[in-house]
């Protein structure tokens, strides 16, 4: 008996490892684009595009999220018709190929607007592939997992999205440190994309050795496979109402909590608080490192106490805590105010003169490295535009950049980002098991993939884009962008609390 248990356990371990590795690589592929948004914006759009380049790059980034539900429909249908294994092999090939090709696209200076158009097309392929991948992996693992441990086993799949982000940040920071900032911005940013092809190759090899899900194999042998999964999922009211409930009561709130904690936090620290490129990424890396085990903790706990309230508490805490947390980020990094009383030293100014593109005006940038008494450092750049016409006055603006934090502030900010990632583990750890248990085997891949990718991909994926857009309008404050995730999470909390049952259907073999 012990030997049989051991064999089953080993087989499940292999299933989890093989599924998770492929899913992790797909997330890595998907996230390097977002992590490099600023640099890609500079490469793809005209050099004087400024804020619109970042917003357009975030729009291309968001386009990948928007098509995820379509990927869910296409590959979900395929997965319910031909099986889980071959479908998520196909998605892996598409994801790896498109990521590799993004790394080869020439910049705007070489091919003009063809550059952003080509990247947009490849980004759409990435989104379609990811739309098919996650539902397959989660379904595959859940259909191997025993009753009472489904939350625990599927939570390993749930770690992959965060670990994929961790891997993408790690590879980017490592590449940048090895090449130097200038070479990285010039051509080194392509390396994280190109590396993907090796990772995908390994994952395909491992997945080729896997067997089809036993539950799906049994269904196929009995001739009970759905002939039209899309029709059965969305035209049959009994099933469609559960799709809507999964979307509005769970995945919508989960999506915004995920992307606020793991994307918007880093973007906010870098772009609004003007933290140094590496500093903002190290903060997120530490936070993710400490928080990732909690996916398994909450996934496992949900097997005992139910999925619902763990997920909903994560949403509620986000609604309550986001504004105070981000207000602290602003207050703690306000070096413009700190330097009035706390300035310890300032380096000799470095003066640089450049011509403004397409004009005869020139820019004189005077950069000073300043250190505060509390150990924080930052660069203050005074940029003076000297007009060519002698009658007009020079324009001056002061820009703060590359802020590095002192010990205690650094630790508090890591703790606050950690707290946000902890909320992610609460909403995300149990959700695969929750979704799998909501739908029958023959249409599970299709039915669970669509609400997941609308919630996670559309509602969540749009967080950085919508929040940045809202915060960029006149009259808004840096915290205005947070109203989007707070509002969506609050709505999802109310719907989930009122309509969802804490006890799901634990039998996934029917």
């Amino acid at each position: 008996m012990q030997s049989t248990d051991k064999n089953v356990s080993q087989s499940i371990t292999q299933v989890i490892a093989a599924s998770s590795l492929g899913t992790l690589i797909e997330w890595y592929d998907f996230y390097i684009f977002g992590s490099l948004a600023v640099i890609i914006g500079q490469q793809l759009f005209p050099s004087d595009a400024g804020a619109s380049a970042l917003i357009n790059t975030l729009a291309i980034f968001a386009a990948g999220f928007i098509v995820r539900p379509f990927g869910a429909l296409v590959f979900g249908r395929l997965g319910d018709l031909i099986g889980r294994k071959y479908t998520f092999l196909l998605t892996l090939v598409l994801m790896g190929g498109s990521t590799f090709l993004i790394g080869l696209i020439p910049s705007y200076s070489s091919i003009g607007y063809a550059a952003p158009i080509l990247v947009l097309i490849l980004r759409l392929v990435q989104g379609l592939a990811l739309g098919g991948e996650y539902g397959g992996a989660a379904t595959y693992v859940a259909e191997h997992a025993p009753v009472g441990k489904r939350g625990f086993f599927t939570s390993w799949i749930q770690t992959t999205a965060t670990l994929g982000l961790f891997l993408s940040l790690g590879v980017i920071v490592l590449t940048k440190n090895m090449l130097g900032a200038e070479a990285f911005a010039d051509w080194g940013w392509r390396i994280p994309f190109l590396v993907s092809i090796l990772l995908v190759g390994v994952s395909i090899y491992i997945r080729m050795k896997m067997h089809e899900s036993p539950v799906f194999t049994k269904l196929k042998a009995e001739g009970k496979v759905s002939t039209n999964p899309l029709k059965e999922s969305f035209q049959k009211k009994a099933n469609f109402k559960m799709v809507l409930l999964a979307l509005f009561g769970a995945t919508m709130g989960q999506g915004v909590i995920w992307y606020t904690g793991q994307f918007y936090a880093q973007s906010f620290l870098e772009n609004t608080c003007k933290l140094d490129f590496n500093e903002s990424r190290y903060i997120l890396l530490w936070a993710i490192l400490f928080a990732t085990p909690f996916f398994v903790v909450f996934g496992s706990w949900s097997d005992k106490v139910g999925r619902k309230w763990i997920m909903l508490m994560g949403m509620l805490l986000g609604v309550i805590c986001y504004r105070p947390i981000y207000q602290y980020f602003i207050d703690a990094t306000n070096v413009k105010e700190f330097q009035k009383t706390e300035l310890k030293s300032a380096s000799a100014p470095v003066v640089e003169r450049t011509l403004v593109k397409d004009t005869k005006d020139s820019l004189v940038t005077t950069t000073t490295l300043k250190t505060l008494n509390n150990g924080m450092t930052f660069k203050e750049a005074k940029i003076v535009t000297i007009p060519d016409a002698p009658a007009t006055f020079p324009e001056e603006q002061t820009v703060i950049k590359d802020v590095t934090l002192s010990g205690p502030t650094y630790i508090i900010i890591i703790a606050l980002v950690f707290f946000q990632v902890l909320l992610v583990t609460m909403v995300y750890g149990p959700i695969a098991a929750f979704l799998v248990e909501l739908f029958p085997t023959k249409i599970r891949y299709t039915s669970m993939s669509l609400p997941y990718h609308i919630g996670n991909g559309v509602f969540g994926g749009l967080v950085p884009f919508i929040a940045t857009l809202v915060a960029s309008f006149s009259g808004s404050t840096p915290l205005s962008g947070l109203w989007y995730p707070i509002g969506i999470a609050a709505l999802s909390f109310v719907i989930g609390a009122v309509y969802i049952d804490n006890k799901g259907d634990e039998n996934v073999a029917d």
Partner: protein, 83 residues
Amino acid sequence: MNALKKFLGILWMLLGPVIIIFLFMQASEKIGLAAEGIARTNTTLQWSIIILIFIPICAGLVIFGYYGWKGEYDKLPRTSADL
């Protein structure tokens, strides 16, 4: 709880169109503001995409509300056979 589900169902049915109207109002206001305030940030395309995406989602919210109002969620399915 079932009465609350029904009452909230009406709220969701109303919320769907309200969100769409709100988005249209925000889009027209913000596109105008952006053109004046920040010269290089024309967000017409971005707002069009946002509205296009959220129209079917809001339609889904209305259907969800209708199901809630009609009592479809009073008793959730316990097994796959109920679906």
